[in-house]
């Protein structure tokens, strides 16, 4: 099953996950708005989940369910973290009336 | 329970028809052709039922309000849906100038697609499930939450205050009652031991004497069904939870700026969501396709399923004609302060039911606990009501 230089299906999934991770990282580092940083973080977490499920599927012991359990707990934790993060963004907006990270620099220096 | 071959064939008539039709094709095409045929049947049957339901609703509401419903088009007004359909199709499709065209277009599409997917896991008769998924209930709820985002897309893309307000209210209401819906289904999953809907129906198809083992006839099942029904009414934005689309409040809520076929798609989506959520309630609590009394099993299973679904739709229409609308903060309070704790306690009572074993004792204990919780929570809620001169709170 050779196509475009990738020799296994697993490598294809891992490359997609790596690319999605890099896109999420770029989004978190490049954009100004706090909410987009959180979106970037969610994309990174999703890429890691894809990695976990791909390794579970193509790994030696899929019946042990380790990869899938890890991914399920990661989904739960990511949802909790998104909730708290977005609550923080709302609270910051209420104080400083902005969500741009460049402007929230009162503790600088 | 041996029925004559005629009734068994009648029960499986759609399966027999499907196999006969698909038999004309070469063997390698048959599985795909089976699925395509079943999908086409679902796409034809449920919108047909939707058309019938619109006229029944208008006539039913009319009778409840002491007036006739539509009675001009066809005998007793039964061809009204055809007139409505032609009107919706030939109306001009107006998109507001400052609206976000792509999102405005995609919102009704994604709503209808998500709602149609929900029908894929409902067992509509013996052996009549489109896809017998192992995690069927989870799939159903996944499709159900996808509709919430479509509602938001519709409201936001219209660039209209009323649409946005309606969409926000609708989404807030839907996510609150989604939790109640899920938790009331979890008690059924606990007892049936599976997320697969056909297994849940099979667990309810036995009889003790002439009475069926439907989950609604158990104390936790009745409480769960009532909670499920309330949550289902709120999920589909029906009265008395229809503040997001109340005409006197919000023009038409999130579908204000939609006209013609797109509005018809929203209407279709809402009614199909009602059908699928009634179908799921029937499967979980009312025994799916099984007959109510053991000597009635000769009547085909799909007739029972659709009768129960139409009965639930009738109850929806009845509630719309009878109950006044709830205000947004009242319905949110109701969800989080009453429905959710009651459903969680219902889960505990279900566990008691399971572990107490057979006998009259578990009936008494479970019923007593559920009634006591209901009375107690009702009194706690009522105590905080202020019955006095009205106090106004203004938006900041």
């Amino acid at each position: 099953m050779t196509s475009m230089g990738m020799t296994t299906p697993l490598a294809g999934y891992l490359l997609v996950a790596a690319l999605l991770f890099a896109i999420g990282l770029a989004g978190a580092l490049v954009r100004r708005n706090a909410i987009l940083v959180l979106i970037g973080i969610e994309l990174m977490l999703n890429a890691a989940n894809l990695n976990l499920i791909a390794f579970w599927r193509f790994g030696p012991h899929p019946e042990a369910l380790t990869g899938m359990m890890f991914a399920l707990f990661s989904i739960a934790v990511a949802a909790a973290e998104a909730a708290v993060g977005l609550g923080l963004v709302i609270a910051i907006h209420r104080q400083t009336n902005t969500t741009e990270l460049d402007k929230i620099d009162r503790m600088k220096g | 329970m041996a029925t004559s071959p005629f009734f068994t064939d009648l029960d499986q008539i759609f399966i027999i028809l499907r196999d006969w039709l698909v038999g004309f094709l070469p063997a390698s095409w048959r599985p795909a052709a089976c699925v395509v045929l079943e999908v086409i049947i679902i796409i034809c049957v449920f919108p047909g039922l939707f058309a019938l339901t619109t006229v029944f609703e208008r006539k039913g509401l009319g009778r409840m309000q002491n007036r006739l419903g539509p009675n001009r088009v066809g005998p007793y007004g039964l061809f009204q849906p055809i007139a409505d359909g032609i009107k919706a199709l030939i109306k001009e499709d107006i998109v507001p100038f400052s609206a976000n065209a792509v999102v405005h277009f995609l919102a009704p599409l994604s709503l209808v697609v998500a709602v149609f997917m929900e029908f894929a896991v409902l067992p509509m008769g013996r052996n009549m499930v489109l896809v017998d998924l192992d995690a069927g209930l989870l799939f159903f709820f996944s499709m159900s939450v996808s509709t919430e985002l479509s509602v938001f897309m519709a409201g936001w893309s219209s660039r209209n205050k009323y649409s946005l307000l309606g969409a926000m209210r609708a989404v807030a209401q839907m996510i609150s009652y989604e939790v109640v819906l899920l938790l009331s289904s979890v008690s059924v999953v606990m007892i049936a031991g599976s997320l697969s809907l056909s297994t849940i129906v099979a667990a309810q198809s036995s009889y003790s004497g002439i009475f069926p083992h439907w989950y609604i006839f158990t104390p936790w099942g009745l409480a769960g069904f009532v909670m499920y029904a309330i949550a289902a009414t709120a999920e589909t934005n029906r009265s008395p939870f229809d503040l997001p689309e109340g005409e006197s409040e919000l023009v038409a809520g999130y579908h204000t700026e939609y006209s013609g076929f797109k509005f018809a798609l929203f209407f279709l989506g809402e009614y199909l969501a009602m059908f699928s959520i009634s179908g799921l309630g029937t499967t979980l609590f009312l025994g799916g396709w099984s007959a109510p009394l053991s000597f009635l099993t000769f009547i085909p299973s799909w007739i029972w399923f659709f009768s129960k679904v139409m009965l639930s739709i009738f109850v929806f229409i009845w509630m719309r004609g009878t109950l006044p609308r709830l205000r947004q903060d009242q319905l949110m309070n109701f969800a989080w302060k009453f429905c959710l704790p009651y459903t969680l306690l219902n889960l505990i009572v279900t566990a008691f039911w399971h572990f107490m074993g057979e006998g009259w004792m578990r009936w008494v204990v479970c019923t007593a606990i559920l009634a006591a919780i209901y009375v107690f929570m009702g009194r706690v809620e009522m105590r905080s009501e202020h019955f006095g001169p009205r106090r106004y709170r203004y938006a900041e």
């Binding site: 020799t7 296994t8 697993l10 490598a11 294809g12 891992l14 490359l15 997609v16 790596a18 690319l19 999605l20 991770f21 890099a22 896109i23 770029a26 989004g27 580092l29 490049v30 954009r31 100004r32 909410i35 987009l36 979106i39 969610e42 994309l43 999703n46 193509f58 899929p62 369910l65 899938m68 359990m69 991914a71 399920l72 989904i75 739960a76 990511a78 949802a79 998104a82 909730a83 708290v84 977005l86 609550g87 923080l88 709302i90 609270a91 907006h93 969500t99 741009e100 460049d102 | 995690a135 996944s142 939450v145 985002l149 897309m153 936001w156 946005l164 926000m168 989404v171 996510i175 997320l195």
Partner: protein, 166 residues
């Protein structure tokens, strides 16, 4: 490595790219939802049914709606004056490209040790349930505690402070 995989990968990556490149925040949130949906379909293609449906239920049904509500509550519909990318965007891009280069090199170098195609694991929800209350009961309880703490924390952090208004 079939057409479906390429299609789903393209949808997911397009959604991710759109999420970080578009100007309007609500468009970014909707593009993120497309990325989540693409990922859920990739999970389904990897025979992880439960994870795929849980991904749709949690991410599209909860996280996406959270993001959208936050955008609306923080007036994100107005575009900022100085552009949407920060002043140091080039450094961020270089870092992300570097991370991707390292990961891709690691994946392509270690491809040899991985088996070509394994049999489809027959995982039922029953097995997942047994695992959750058997081997993984401690993480389950901790996640329950974590979610409770997160719920209470998020409500307190984002709540209106009532004392100052009267």
């Amino acid at each position: 490595m079939n057409v479906v995989f390429y299609l789903l990968a393209a949808i997911t990556l397009a959604g991710g790219l759109a999420a970080v490149l578009l100007k309007h925040l609500v468009h970014c949130a909707l593009a993120t939802t497309v990325a989540f949906a693409g990922l859920a379909l990739l999970f389904l293609q990897l025979d992880a049914q439960f994870a795929g449906f849980a991904q749709i239920l949690v991410y599209i049904g909860a996280v996406a709606i959270l993001i959208v509500f936050t955008i609306l509550l923080t007036r994100g519909s107005e575009l900022p004056k100085g552009g949407v990318f920060s002043r140091t965007w080039f450094v961020g891009l270089v870092i992300a490209a570097g991370v991707f280069a390292v990961l891709a090199w690691a994946v392509l170098e270690s491809v040899r040790g991985i088996p070509q195609q394994t049999a489809v694991p027959a995982v039922t929800v029953h097995d997942i349930g047994n695992a959750l209350v058997g081997r993984y009961v401690l993480p389950l309880e901790i996640v329950g505690l974590l979610l409770t703490a997160a719920t209470i924390g998020a409500v307190i952090v984002a709540m209106h402070e009532k004392e100052r208004r009267q």
